[in-house]
């Protein structure tokens, strides 16, 4: 079984334009399905918005092209140069913000320790986790932080966390002390568990700082256009584009690709569970275009309600998401290589499992 897989892969790696034919299947019609989902596995990246240049070291906040930005005050909107041994300029309020940040880092560390003991199942080191300096711990925080300082009072203890009540006597700051991290990973997975592709989404922070209250669900909307390109790039070879794509925010994707000929024959629907629980009945476009019941090819045979297991991405995410603690400190090359290797090897295990379960795993053969 395994050696067969290896031989087949040789053909699959050939970088040539191929046409997909399969003599056995001549005269038949097919629909293949994939599910797309996001997952919170991240790696550190340059703190400049949407910069894809890799960091030289995991201690860095900026890539080599934006290194000069480290000499600018960490307060958002302030462009004064920093004072030595500090990430802020000489402004007294800004200095207090940094003091608060360091104190917050210490208390956060204690809380995080409680949380990780209670929840994290896969520590990097089963015996002891090496802890470095407080500064590095504080830098674990990747997003920009909100601070409020009472006017006229300058002690650090009086700098408070942002609370719900907005007081006119408080000054508000946003600061970026730590490294940023990428936004998430999107995976494209077939209902049998084969992972087709993985793509890192870098941040959309500029938009998010405006609409802070929006949840992750709406975050995806910003990235839809990017997702469209990813689908087109992944399935750029003719014949590979699946007939149906499940994505939990397909109503947005369907609007974006309405006029795109590539997607003319691709069904876009929302996975059954998400459609029932998360999509508004009042959204007419969504209800008329993304309801999985409208797609006859998805209907199951016999007593089965659905032909395909559209919840597969959540199941696969549980597997991939567990790598978070292993990958969060990797540099980008190793991170990508590691995750792709893990996926490659898991696909081999999936292949063996499908072969044993008589699901007839095959590959569209290539003819040059």
């Amino acid at each position: 079984m395994y050696s067969f897989y290896d031989r087949r892969s040789v053909a699959l790696y050939l970088p040539i334009l191929v046409i997909y034919t399969n003599k056995i299947l001549t005269g038949k019609y097919k629909v293949s399905v994939v599910v797309i989902d996001g997952i919170m596995v991240r790696h550190p990246c340059c703190s400049i918005h949407n910069c894809h240049i890799p960091l030289s070291s995991n201690r860095d906040r900026y890539c080599k092209d934006h290194r000069d930005a480290a000499g600018i005050c960490a307060i958002v909107g302030c462009s004064s140069p920093v004072v030595p041994d500090s990430k802020n300029c000489s402004n007294e309020d800004h200095q207090n913000v940094e003091k608060t940040h360091i104190e917050r880092g210490q208390s956060r560390f204690q809380l995080q320790e409680c949380l990780s003991r209670a929840r994290i199942a896969h520590p990097n080191d089963s015996l002891d986790e090496a802890v470095m300096t407080i500064d590095e711990l504080a830098d674990v925080n990747e997003e920009d932080e909100a601070f409020e300082l009472l006017t006229g009072q300058t002690t650090a203890s009086q700098a408070a966390h942002t609370s719900g009540s907005v007081d006119a006597s408080k000054k508000k700051f946003r600061a970026q002390f730590g490294r940023k991290q990428t936004h998430n990973e999107q995976i494209i997975v077939a209902p049998c568990g084969m992972i087709h592709a993985r793509e890192t989404f870098f941040g959309a922070e500029a938009v998010s700082s405006v609409i802070v209250s929006l949840s992750y669900w709406f975050y995806c909307i910003i990235l839809i256009d990017f997702l469209k390109e990813i689908i087109k790039c992944t399935y750029h070879m003719p014949g590979t584009l699946p007939g149906h794509i499940f994505f939990n925010n397909n109503c947005q994707l369907a609007k974006v690709v309405q006029d795109d000929p590539t997607f003319a024959n691709v069904g876009l629907s929302v996975d059954v569970f998400h459609f029932k629980s998360k999509h508004k009945v009042t959204d007419i476009f969504c209800q008329t275009n993304c309801n999985p019941i409208d797609f006859p090819e998805l209907k199951g045979l016999g007593n089965k309600a659905w032909y395909f297991n559209s919840a597969i991405a959540e199941q696969t995410n549980a597997w991939l998401g567990s790598y978070h603690s292993m990958c969060c400190e990797m540099l980008v090359d190793k991170y990508n290589f590691f995750l792709d290797e893990m996926i490659l090897r898991r696909n081999r295990l999936t292949y063996n499992k499908l072969a044993l379960a008589c699901d007839k795993p095959k590959t569209f053969t290539v003819s040059v």
């Binding site: 097919k30 080191d125 084969m194 992944t234 006859p296 292993m326 290589f337 893990m342």
Partner: protein, 172 residues
């Protein structure tokens, strides 16, 4: 599991230094084109059986084992109670860098062997930077062609029918 091999000899006439898995020429380690070796050099004096590296990688895939824990798995369960020969100053203990080196070398060799290419990495510099360029090539390839299973189909992910009424794609 760690084995000692006489690995290092020098051919003065062609300036090539031969090792067990690779030869060094012009500051580059060029791995032998003999498929995937059964014993892989993961450190200056550490050689590990391919099976052990496969065990590490499989633990990473099925149970999210970190490299540190893989090293610990080896040190406590697999290394056995070998006694050091007299005068031998290197221990049998492996650490996470050995695990990562084993992971990189085996994965890169497997991928490149499939593509009929030779693995070549710098001989000088830090261990952590050694495989960077080779990984970048592999990552670019993966981005361009995605996983090989992109062209997979089976009963669970593809629905075949002879009924052309449904919006199915016709296979020519």
């Amino acid at each position: 599991m760690s084995k000692w091999l006489i690995t290092d000899f020098w051919r003065t006439e062609c300036n090539v230094n031969y090792h067990h898995n690779f030869y060094v020429h012009d500051g580059k380690r060029i791995y032998h084109d003999i498929g995937i070796p059964d014993i892989i050099q993961v450190g200056e004096h550490q050689f590990v059986e391919r099976k052990v590296i496969e065990l590490w990688i499989t633990s990473m895939v099925v149970s999210w084992t970190s490299a540190t824990n893989c090293a610990r798995l080896y040190n406590s369960a697999l290394s056995g109670n070998h006694k050091l020969p007299p005068g031998w100053k290197f221990g049998f203990t492996l650490d996470l860098d050995h695990v990562w080196n084993g992971f990189m070398i085996l994965s890169l060799l497997e991928d490149l062997t499939l593509r009929k290419q030779t693995l070549s990495v710098p001989h000088t510099g830090l261990d952590s930077d050694r495989y960077k360029a080779a990984m970048q090539v592999q990552n670019r390839h993966m981005r361009l062609y995605s996983q090989p299973e992109l062209r997979h189909y089976c009963n669970r992910c593809t629905h075949f029918t002879t009924d052309g009424q449904l919006p199915f794609i016709y296979l020519f």
